[in-house]
Symmetry: C2
Subunit: 64 residues, 2 copies
């Protein structure tokens, strides 16, 4: 699932993206959409990534 | 601009969020919205963060 563009970003740029993601309060929505895409079959993934996404969703929702 | 929730995520969870951000092709939109919020005055920031966002936007747009 690793994306080429993501790999070409510096660690500082990756950190800035994460800060903006939370500044825009979009992290939970983003993970929800990805899980929905997997569950409706429009996005292939493996069991491990799916479980990691569910765990991340649960962690983010606890933070609200 | 650092967010409490972000700090409570593990590095693996942060990496997963970034992967999903690119998987959903939403990175450029996310940075654009943040820049627009700053430019229209609805979000305060300092000059350095604004310059980093512009540089990140330029890097992301070059990747398309």
């Amino acid at each position: 699932m690793i994306n080429g563009t993501l790999n070409r970003l510096t660690r500082d740029e990756q950190a800035l993206l994460l800060e903006v993601l939370f500044s825009q309060r979009y992290a939970l929505d983003l993970v929800s959409v990805e899980i929905a895409d997997i569950e409706n079959g429009s996005k292939p993934t493996d069991e491990l990534v799916y479980k990691r996404l569910i765990a991340l969703y649960d962690k983010l929702i606890d933070e609200i």
